[in-house]
Amino acid sequence: MDKKGNLYFLEVNPLAGLNPIDSDLPIMCGLKDMEYQRLIDSIMDSVNFRLAKL
């Protein structure tokens, strides 16, 4: 965000880091009371509902 309050999107990372200690996603999930194991379980659930496409 610049000094005028304009927001700029710089990058996207579709393979989020999953180190339970220092990666953003596990830390942010922890703040939503989602423990690491539940995060991994949730990823597994989402994969099971998504069929790989050609």
């Binding site: 999107f9 393979l15 690491y36």
Partner: protein
């Protein structure tokens, strides 16, 4: 018990700290999957496609947990999900198309622009013209394909006096691109599908603590991986905001 293939980068002979981190991450995921009642097996993904296919066919995998983050820097990481798609396997992480676009920051920026999402001006080898916003003021020069802040240091903040100077620089540094340097606040936003609903998680704001006035407030490789560095010790995240309208805007754009 369902067998899960954890596909992870082949670590180089002299692994960097981010490579070691990926290996540690794979072990943590394996432990979590074991606790959840799965049978996880870790294997290495490489540029030897026949070997990768052999591994994919070696078991009746319930799914592949994709941790392939580096293949010839970042430039070919979409090959892993592309292979999973070709063999009709379930896998975690982004689709090959998403990885192809986002692993090239030029393509990612074009996708932002096409979606009418504001991004910093930039110039890469594929750009048609140099924006005036890049001339005569601070810009940041980044690798176009690397992630984990590889290749970014304080020296990445540069200044060019003309469009031709920028063109010449990129002509001889094709793996880099020049981006408008936004002096302001930096946020990390994570999105995840929870209980079938796209959810924006608590938003992190980067903190640059006691940085000298002359030192660029950027996340570089040291700030992420070098525990002894000034940058590592003087950067942190905060999740505490007073500006709730900003958070609402960030959430809306992200969703």
């Amino acid at each position: 018990m369902q067998k899960i293939l954890i596909f992870v980068d082949q670590v180089s002979q002299t692994p960097t700290k981010d490579e070691i981190d990926t290996r540690r991450e794979a072990q943590e995921i394996k432990n979590a999957l074991l606790t959840l009642g799965y049978d996880p097996i870790t294997s290495f993904f490489s540029l030897n496609l026949e070997k990768n296919i052999e591994i994919l066919k070696s078991e009746n995998w319930a799914l592949v947990f994709n941790l392939v983050e580096t293949l010839n820097s970042n430039i070919m990481i979409h090959i892993a999900p592309l292979l999973f798609e070709l063999y009709n396997m379930k896998y975690s992480g982004g689709h090959s198309q998403a990885l192809f676009i986002t692993s090239d920051k030029g393509y990612a920026k074009k996708a932002f622009i096409d979606a009418k999402i504001r991004t910093a001006d930039y110039y890469s080898k594929n750009s048609k013209r140099v924006s005036k916003t890049l001339i005569g003021r601070d810009v940041i020069v980044k690798p176009i394909n690397d992630e984990a802040s590889s290749g970014i240091t304080d020296l990445s903040i540069m200044k060019f006096s003309s469009a031709q100077e920028i063109k010449n620089y990129i002509k001889f540094h094709e793996t880099l691109f020049v981006e408008e340097y936004i002096k302001g606040k930096e946020y990390n936003v994570s999105v995840m599908k929870i209980d079938g609903k796209i959810t924006v998680l608590p938003i992190a704001q980067m903190q640059f603590i006691d940085f000298p006035a002359s030192k660029p407030k950027i996340l570089n490789y040291s700030s992420k991986w070098d525990e002894d560095s000034f940058e590592y010790k003087h950067t942190s995240r905060t999740f505490d905001y007073s500006d709730s309208s900003l958070m609402i805007e960030l959430r809306e754009i992200t969703q």
